[in-house]
Amino acid sequence: MKTLASGCALLLALASLAAAEQPKPAPEKGTVENYVQLSKTGTRGEDRVNTGQFYFPRLQFKCREDVPDKWDIHPVGDQKLRESIKRLTNINILAEPVVVNLDKLEEMCEYPYVFMTSEGDFVLPEKHVENMREYISRGGFVFGDDCVLHQVGDNFYRAFVREMKRVFPDNPMRPIPEDHELYKIFFKHNHMPFLQGKKNPPMGLFDKKTGRLMALVTSGDLHCGWVGFGNLNKDECKRAIEMGVNIVIYCLTH
């Protein structure tokens, strides 16, 4: 009897051990957990703003269900850009990933710079339109980059421009001229790098009074260039990182 009991206990222990060793299911795409897990380290950092330190937060927004890669796509690209900024500039950038939600204005406003990407079209709910308007009006900066659906699309790019017109109906986005300071502020470039997708001019939302760039969107998939996918041109990937640095420096100096 004792032997039977011992055998049962051993079986149970083995079963529980086996259960413990089973890998957890991968987080669902489009969730914060997915973005964080795919990054090296970090948590959502609401209370982690240090002086002089710069965060490169990813903006969580409502994507369409049929879009394969949502707002949290390729967080490693963000991570690589952060590392590049730390290596190439004296900006005190934080390595940990941060996610801010467009649904929570006050949380979003803790970070005056946000990065926004996805592969497909999106339509912002009215509350998000209002939040975006208030965020930018307070001084926030939004950088949008199209992650290029099937390496050819520009759905995100077009949606961004369209939705921004909802945000500021009387101040639509305009093409960023090639002599804009953005291209020369740190690294010297003549145009926006293009990795893949459709060649569209980078579009900017300009402050009517001062001309300051408040938001911009690119269609050339800079973000995939930051990741450094093998199918992409190495030099263009390098230029994508340099342009990413330029955009951050522009935000921190204007």
Partner: protein, 760 residues
């Protein structure tokens, strides 16, 4: 014939005595004559052909005689007549003719002056009563004492802008010197505006046997009145900036709420209630407004008339402020790109008054260069006093001390202490002790001590709500509202900051404007915002690192962050000295009042210059220009002064030009001249003073405008005093023809004798 030659008839010479206006002692006169005789004789001895015979004596004698006659004419020969005369006792009646006597505060509805005049004549019959005992002479006292006839008194209207009672008594005593003054009767409200003490003069009159009586007119207390005692306003302000005036208000017998209004021309800019402490009749009201108009702007401060208030002339005051629109440069030195930099720059981008020039380090020797920055900034922080002196203030934002050379640190010290610039250090991981400033010359400038024990060891990046101190609530940097309590309430609504350098030890001269809400390890609350004056300049610390949160975490239309930075930078830059700064000791002067123009001149190194040539051109409203040279005042380095006197009411512009080394510096200021009257500063009858004058003058005082007491006193004490006076009348003889004829005759005779002697 005699009278023609000697000017007066022979009888006059028989009755009178000859004398001289200049009474020389006889021995001196003889000595002078002897010297003249010797001189004449000696001169003739020196002639090439000395006179011989009788001429030897006649010629010097003629010359001495001629000279003596000229001297006699110069000494003023007179004919003196002595006589004895009876002089009646004198009663001097002095009526106050200052404008305060126009006040109607009696039951009769008449002015104080009208009642005084009635007391003299139809009602009080004072003049008639006094005339029984002596001669009555009438005077008015005001800005000066004047004798008047009864007819003039009847037609007089009080218009003097001062009540110089003491001076009036003094002048009256001088006019009546030597006469038997039985009494002086003052009919006045007792308002002495010069600060002198009339009682002392009354004592003097009494010491000579007279009596000084006072008849008072006016309410001793009870007349409702509001008065602007003083208005303090900045001499100049930036256009669009918030200007604050402090208005000192006095109320008398008024309980209703008092309001103060500020007008520009006829436009009402602001209205505030004057808050008196319980039982107090003096209060300060603060009026803040935005200076919109440019130029020498006149603002009118006015107290609306209270119920039954009669004196309204003291309810308003004109103040002039030079409103300028200049964009002064402030240097922001930033250690690395961060949001704080971008947000401050944005806040100041469209500021009309300040241009924030930025020096942003992107890497070693690599600076972010804005298109509108001067090229020298691309090489880093300015390395000469002249280059640094271009700025009015420097802000060090999260940049370590090691970035600066020791010479640059010394330049910053001079920039603050000598040039009068502003220095602000912001919080950050490279600021204060974390940036290695504790053993640098800059540590001495800051309003907090960086010594061990005064500073926390690490940067604290927790969230906290800035706590504005009472002093901070009153300060221009943190002013969001004119009311201190509202100000604190508004700051308490602001989102929390995040990250600060724990600084615990404010220096003794520092003003702590804001603190951390929680006590530190040893129970002290950390200083977040503190300021102090250092030498000629100003310094401040703002230990928080992320003030941009006030912008991002408030609605987009909230401009608190922008106001905070504008006000901070304005405060920092305000103390900065110009190479040539010019001012006057008053912005609104009375006509005829001395105005001192002061110019401070600096050389290229921003040190006071004592060798400049400074000239002021004072231009009045009609275009007339007076040039006034300013002189170095010796007791203060680089300060030059001169005075001028406005001759008529109106605006005066004062352009000052200074030649310093090879440079010509120019600056402009202005002044308004007005007709002033200190008369209405106080309108209640000063019963105490009148009583004291009467006591010291051994007379009586009646404070109800009645003459009975004075008349009774005179009747009781006055003896029909008259006295015999030895009078001497002098008649001039200098212009008697005989004198001229004699002088001419003697000189002619001398010439004839000389000619006959072959000497001419």
């Amino acid at each position: 014939m005699f009278q023609w030659l000697f000017k007066y008839p022979l009888q006059s010479y028989r009755e009178g005595d000859l004398g001289l206006t200049w009474n020389l002692r006889p021995e001196l006169l003889l000595l002078a004559l002897a010297l003249a005789a010797f001189g004449a004789w000696w001169l003739y001895r020196r002639e090439a052909r000395a006179p011989q015979g009788w001429r030897r004596w006649a010629l010097p004698a003629l010359r001495v005689a001629g000279t003596a006659l000229v001297a006699l004419a110069l000494l003023g020969p007179v004919l003196r007549f002595s006589k004895r005369d009876e002089q009646k006792a004198i009663f001097a009646v002095a009526v106050d003719a200052s404008t305060s006597m126009n006040v109607k505060d009696g039951a009769s509805g008449k002015t104080r002056f009208e009642r005084a005049r009635a007391a003299l004549g139809s009602e009080g019959k004072l003049a008639e009563a006094l005339a029984e005992f002596g001669e009555v002479r009438f005077f008015t006292v005001g800005s000066q004492c004047r004798p008047v006839t009864p007819e003039q008194m009847a037609a007089l209207q009080p218009a003097d802008d001062q009540s110089a009672l003491a001076q009036g008594l003094k002048e009256l005593s001088q006019m009546l010197r030597g006469l038997p003054v039985e009494g002086v009767v003052l009919l006045t409200d007792g308002i002495e505006t010069t600060g002198a003490d009339p009682a002392g003069l009354a004592r003097l009159v009494a010491s000579r046997g007279g009596h000084v009586h006072c008849i008072g007119f006016g309410e001793a207390k009870g007349l409702p009145d509001l008065q602007i005692v003083d208005v303090r306003a900045p001499r100049s302000a930036e256009r669009g900036s918030l200007v604050t005036m402090n208005v000192q208000v006095r109320r008398s017998n008024i309980q209703e709420p008092v309001r103060v209004r500020l007008y520009q021309d006829t436009e009402l800019l602001k209205e505030e209630e004057v808050l008196f402490e319980p039982g107090a009749n003096l209060a300060d009201a603060r009026i803040s407004f935005v200076a919109e108009a440019e130029g020498a702007v006149k603002y009118k401060v006015e107290l609306p008339a209270a119920r039954d208030e009669q004196i309204l002339d003291n309810n308003e005051r004109i103040v002039q402020v030079d409103v300028k629109e200049t964009r002064v440069e402030v240097l922001l030195v930033e250690g690395s790109p961060r949001h704080e930099y971008a947000f401050i720059r944005r806040a100041m981008a469209d500021n009309k008054h300040f241009k924030v020039v930025t020096l942003l380090r992107l890497g070693k020797g690599n600076y972010y260069k804005r298109a509108d920055d001067d090229s020298f900034l691309s090489e880093g922080f300015p390395d000469t006093a002249e280059r640094l002196g271009r700025f009015k203030a420097v802000i060090l934002s999260d940049i370590e001390a090691g970035y600066f050379t020791s010479e640059q640190l010394r330049l910053i010290v001079d920039f603050v202490k000598v040039r009068g610039g502003g220095l602000l250090m912001l919080g950050g991981v490279n600021a204060f002790n974390l940036g290695g400033y504790q053993n640098t010359p800059l540590a001495d400038l800051l309003p907090v001590s960086l010594a061990p024990g005064g500073v926390g060891e690490a940067f604290d990046d927790s969230k906290f709500q800035m706590q504005v101190t009472r002093e901070g609530a009153e300060d221009e940097i943190l002013r969001l509202s004119g009311n201190s309590d509202e100000n604190i309430a508004q700051w308490n609504l602001m989102p929390p900051l995040k990250g600060y350098n724990p600084l615990y030890a404010a220096k003794p001269g520092a003003a702590v404007l804001a603190r951390h809400p929680q006590p530190g390890p040893d129970g002290r609350q950390a200083v977040l915002l503190a300021v102090q004056e250092v030498g000629a300049g100003r310094t401040g610390v703002f230990a928080a690192a992320n003030s941009w949160r006030w912008q991002m975490l408030r609605p987009a239309n909230d401009d608190t962050f922008r106001r905070f930075w504008s006000q901070t930078i304005r405060w920092l830059a305000a103390g900065s000295k110009e190479m040539l700064s010019v001012g006057t000791d008053t912005r609104v002067a009375g006509v005829g009042q001395n105005v001192t123009i002061t110019a401070t001149v600096l050389d290229r190194r921003h040190r006071p210059c004592n060798e400049a040539k400074v000239l002021a051109r004072v231009k009045d409203g009609f275009g007339n220009v007076d040039e006034v040279r300013l002189a170095w005042i010796l007791r203060e380095e680089g300060v030059y002064q001169a005075t001028f006197r406005p001759t008529h009411a109106g605006d005066y512009s004062i352009g000052v030009e200074a030649q310093v080394e090879s440079n010509t510096l120019e600056a402009l200021t202005s002044l308004a001249a007005i007709e002033t009257s200190p008369e209405l500063n106080r309108i209640d009858m000063d019963a105490a003073l009148l009583t004291r004058i009467a006591n010291e003058g051994k007379g009586v005082a009646d404070l109800e405008g009645k003459t009975d007491a004075v008349i009774a006193f005179v009747r009781e004490h006055a003896v029909k005093r008259s006295r015999m006076l030895d009078l001497v009348e002098e008649k001039e003889l200098r212009d008697a023809p005989i004198l001229l004829l004699l002088i001419c005759g003697i000189w002619f005779a001398e010439w004839i004798v000389r000619r006959r002697s072959g000497m001419a």
